[in-house]
């Protein structure tokens, strides 16, 4: 049954030196934001130098997904680990803007630019 089903919501975590790059796939809503948050915090537990969350394959995110990211941001700040968001699709970018979280998160057009910081 699961043969062609992708791991969700976090498809993969890749390391570029000390930098963790988290690839998220699919829609993030109340039905998966719990797993999303747990998996994000697991990455932080591995003590990365920075965390880049690649949202380029996320066509939809709601406030529960935002809550998971805010939780990550809070914990990461305490650990002095920068969190960067990359590749937001228009719908998700608009959500960050109307909640004014585009001023709170570091947002980059893509992973390459996020890692260049």
């Amino acid at each position: 049954m699961k043969k062609d089903v992708q791991k969700r919501p976090i498809a993969a975590v890749r390391w570029e030196g000390q930098a963790a790059v988290v690839s998220v796939t699919g829609e993030i809503d109340l039905s998966c934001s719990g797993e999303f948050q747990d998996e994000l915090l697991d990455v932080l537990d591995d003590k990365p130098g920075s965390i880049t969350v690649d949202l380029s394959n996320v066509p939809h995110m709601d406030s529960s997904g935002i809550a998971s990211l805010i939780k990550l941001l809070g914990r990461s700040r305490k650990a002095s680990v920068p969190v960067r968001l990359a590749g937001l699709q228009k719908r998700v970018q608009s959500l960050f803007e109307i909640t004014r979280l585009d001023k709170v998160f570091e947002i980059y057009p893509d992973v390459t630019e996020a890692l260049a910081k």
């Binding site: 039905s31 939809h60 998971s68 719908r91 909640t99």
Partner: protein, 150 residues
Amino acid sequence: MKIPPNKPIHLTILSVPAHVPVARAAVERFCRAMQVDEQTTGQIALSLDEALANIIKHAYGGRPDGLIEIEVMPLLSDGLPPTLQLRLRDRGRHVDPARIRSRDLDDVRPGGLGVHIIHQYMDRIEYRKAEGGGTVLTMLKRLGGSGGRS
């Protein structure tokens, strides 16, 4: 072949998070069939999503056995801009609509944004006590241009 105006479709789901994406997919496909643009479709989908999440969390307090009835109807009448009406009916705890408010945006913390998002994206929002218990939430979104007609 066009979506008929002023005719509803109905969807009934349970108050479980796993049913939310199913309702969202139906409404997004409905918008696409009406040739609503992607931005407006996204705003409608997210508002539906937030409203359903709130019913699950607050009206049913996380109980998984509550019913949520969703009505989707394109409103089209002379002199009014084409509009999509979403109506959600629950049978859970009804609260005074005045108490349904998001947190201050500057107080950054997880949660407390859903109602703000709905108000940003939808053109009219009304909470009404339902006959027989629960709440009816009606949300209207103007579609502009040729939307709804095509």
